[in-house]
Amino acid sequence: MTNHWNDLANTDCALIIGSNAAENHPMSFKWLTKAREERKAKIICVDPRFTRTAARSDIHAPLRSGTDIAFIGGLINYAIQKNKFQRDYVVRYTNAAFIVDDGYDFKDGYFSGWDPQKKTYANATWNFKKDDQGNFLKDETLENPRCVFQLLKKHYNRYDADTVCKVTGTPKEVYLKVCEAYTGTGQPNKSGTIMYAMGCTQHTVGSQNVRSYAMLQLLLGNIGVPGGGVQAMRGESNVQGSTDFGLLFHMLPGYISSPQATPEYALLADYLKKETPASGYWVNKPKFFTSLLKAWWGDKATAENDFAYHYLPKRDPKKNYSHIALFEAMYKGEIKGCFVWGGNPVVGGPNARKEAAALGKLDWLVCMDLFETETANFWSKEAGADPKTINTEVFMLPVAASYEKAGSISNSGRWCQWRYKAVNPPGEARDDLMLLHELALRLKRAYASSDKPQDEPIKHLFWDFGNDPHHPDIEIVAKEISGYDWTTKTQLKTFGDLKDDGSTVSGCWVYGGMYNGPAKENNRARNRKTEKEGIGQHLDWAFAWPVNRRILYNRCSADYDGKPWSEDKKLLWWDGSKWGGLDVPDFVPTKAPSDPGGTDPYIMQAHGKGGLFAVMAEGPFPEHYEPWESPVNQQPFSKVLVNPVAKVFETEKGDNTKFPYVGTTYRVCEHWQTGVLTRNTPWLAELMPHMFVEISPTLAQAKGIKNGDQVVVSSLRGEIKCYVIVTGRFQPLMIDGKPVEQVGMPWHYGFLGLAKGSVANHLTPHVGDANTTIPEYKAFLCDIRRAN
């Protein structure tokens, strides 16, 4: 989130798209309800189906799953055509005024640089023009036909309401209501928030979906202000923490790119040259990176040995290491062992039958969870496997639940909150950190006497977390994350104190200063003081990265001179000598608005501006492409049907004459992820005991299906049997004049636990987003019939 949960209460309009917030992020509705009551805020729910969120919204706009870019593109067009955007914000806080490279073009669905033979983009022309001194060329009148604004206007000029609704299936009058309500937040005294989750990201165009939201927010001046922002509502309570700490396959902790196995990354100096931009806050990357290496290898990381840079594994740039790719590699027998730590891919993975089969190619599998998982039982008859044919040795380690261990958790709003242990875990269950600690110590022991250089990364791993052989001291872990001086061992105040000479340590620079002194009270994740007055930023509750900032890009909350755009939306202001206000400034507090860079709020960008135009795998502007499996054979925006650079691992796709319906998956409030926890908890299993699929009354009638029947849902990957709910909450959408039916189902169920049911992911494909390879769970083709 650029903002945070509590700040939702400050919004004037919430656009919930790609999310079913009331069901899957119920707490968001505490704050939205407050906004509604106290500010008369409007809530807009954009969703293929009528959800519990829709029930509590002012407008429900249905759209066909996988058409977000068309929907948002139309809003961008509406904002520009009706002059609803916040011009002053756009001119100086975004790259709207920048002049784009002469070679940039968009034609027939492709951006410039498309190589039809190799099916890849060369993106050299997706760039800005500079003068002889290296300054960006700009036109702040926004009139230059080659400036970002004019190119943006031209690009989305094609997204008129009629064309958009032909693609999305949204009734035009509803769509225009959304346009009017949401672009109303383009006024300086209004703010709107966009809330999204996996309904947005789990598409072959998922990343561009997110970008389209960000662009709309930039145009409306909605980023960096209270009640504004783009809110990634994370799918697990600590997913934010996981990604902060390097969960992503191409990232090290703190969003530092992992090195690649190419000559340009050979030595530390090469890496730093390649990865450090000339301007923007990332110029400090060498300090963060060196401090990270120091955290990992301590005394063995010296200036002489490149701070042990050579110990880091280097990834093959031609290889994809995402979830799908890992299971593809496993399926081919390229991977021998696997730790599944709090995961359950046999239920949660796309094309889950294939993923279960892939596990059968392993020599060993370790599963760690609170209850026995379907993944740990992939070899069983219940899983549909023949145990005799599977040689994988499976270990199941019981782990502690969150109340049975202490530590920190980072929520979607980037708040790192300390949690305390309430009870001991049952039986032999241990907390994750304990398992990891013992694993590390045993590995180190195993390599202790090795002389091989390739064993040094483990042998020399700096692992000094107290004297307990079984449990690391988590205070020491937290202190290392925050950062300290290597010589004096004193905690640093912020990541601004980090150095690139090996004198400082930090395990994850974005959390720098979280633990800013020696005592437990210095662990700011423990802070628990709520705000009595003010706008609910709660600066003394927990620690928000970076530097306890609650709203990112908050320079944008004030005009060029440093005055808040409006009294109602004030957050920070320039008092003549420094910035002050209700949040921690997103920049040097003494940098005057008139100083160089004084109106460059997007500090992580080399040019300091919000990226209306930005390099992504499939182009600098989000363009509508159909899902990989689509019910239509052509689309009005171009002749290119599917994202040309989507990551496709399947060899064959479903034919829309055989599988005519749009399938999608989702969660319900009562279950959690693959249901391991909730399907084993009687009171929760009781609330949602059965796997079901939801369809419209018209589809039910066409198929002779009655509410409560057993049905078979099929896709090219397989079929599943479950109950059906026939409901008016599902309606066919008119796509280019033809009705298209949608079929939706939860993906929580599996063959173990108290509440059992078919695995929805037997239907979903191994196809991913072009930038992240997140699977396209949310739009695939299927068919449905009565079970008997």
Binding site: A22, E23, P26, M27, F29, K30, T33, K34, E37, F50, R52, T53, A54, A55, R56, H60, V668, C669, E670, P682, W683, L684, A685, E686, L687, M688, P689, H690, F692, P697, N707, G708, Y723, V724, I725, V726, T727, G728, R729, L754, A755, K756, G757
Partner: protein
Amino acid sequence: MGEVAKLIDVTKCTACRGCQVACKQWHDLPTETTPDKTKFAGSYQSHPDLGPNTYTIIEFIENTNENGTQWHFKKTGCMHCTDAACILVCEKKALSKLENGIVYRDMAKCVGCGYCAQNCPFLVPKVNPKTEKATKCTLCENRVEAGLKPACVSTCITGALDFGPREKMLEIAKNRVATLQQQGMTKAQVYGEKELGGTHVIYVLGDAPEVYGLPADPQVPLSATLWQKYGKPLGAAAFCASLGTTLFAFFLNRKKDLAPKLHHHEGGKSHGV
């Protein structure tokens, strides 16, 4: 504290059902529906009705018409009436009225005769055939006594549930209704202010009571009044013999007519039918 009340604002409920779970947790109640025993109801609603081990449920009421789809979420449970029919008919004095308005149940005295269940205008109490006790929402009278809010209220995320002095709850309810009406929900209303002498569970409804399966004008069944006047002093056997079972049965059956005519009601049998 004087009279207390629980406020249920159905227009704020997101049907997360935290209240259902909190209730079971506080009262340590077992599950009633299990995947292998329960027929799929074709609905998100977990239980078709309240049960001896389920004191509260969220009813999912769905309606799709030319105006689009409405999906109402109504928390259902004991209304803690001032004119409580259940107390009138309880021969063993297992049910009684506390000073704060809560209809208190004394499990030790209950023999499971089921008269309370039959005479409740909202059909709330349920007899557990195994224990032969009638159960219903207690409004967490033990928590209230200790200065806490009922379990369901304490877990509610959106503020759809509130608890406090009855007068204050009524005031909040009326203000909320005024706001809703201003926002265009012209049929928004308070339910429970006057009904049955004033209930200690008060609803803010966005529409007419019937839409939510609530009787528009709930009454203490005549059978209950008669029972208290004539039946109770004589004892059940004598009463049945003297006045005749036909008459009693007639009044018992009459409550069907008291029930509202219902809309399409998703998920099993509707409360009040």
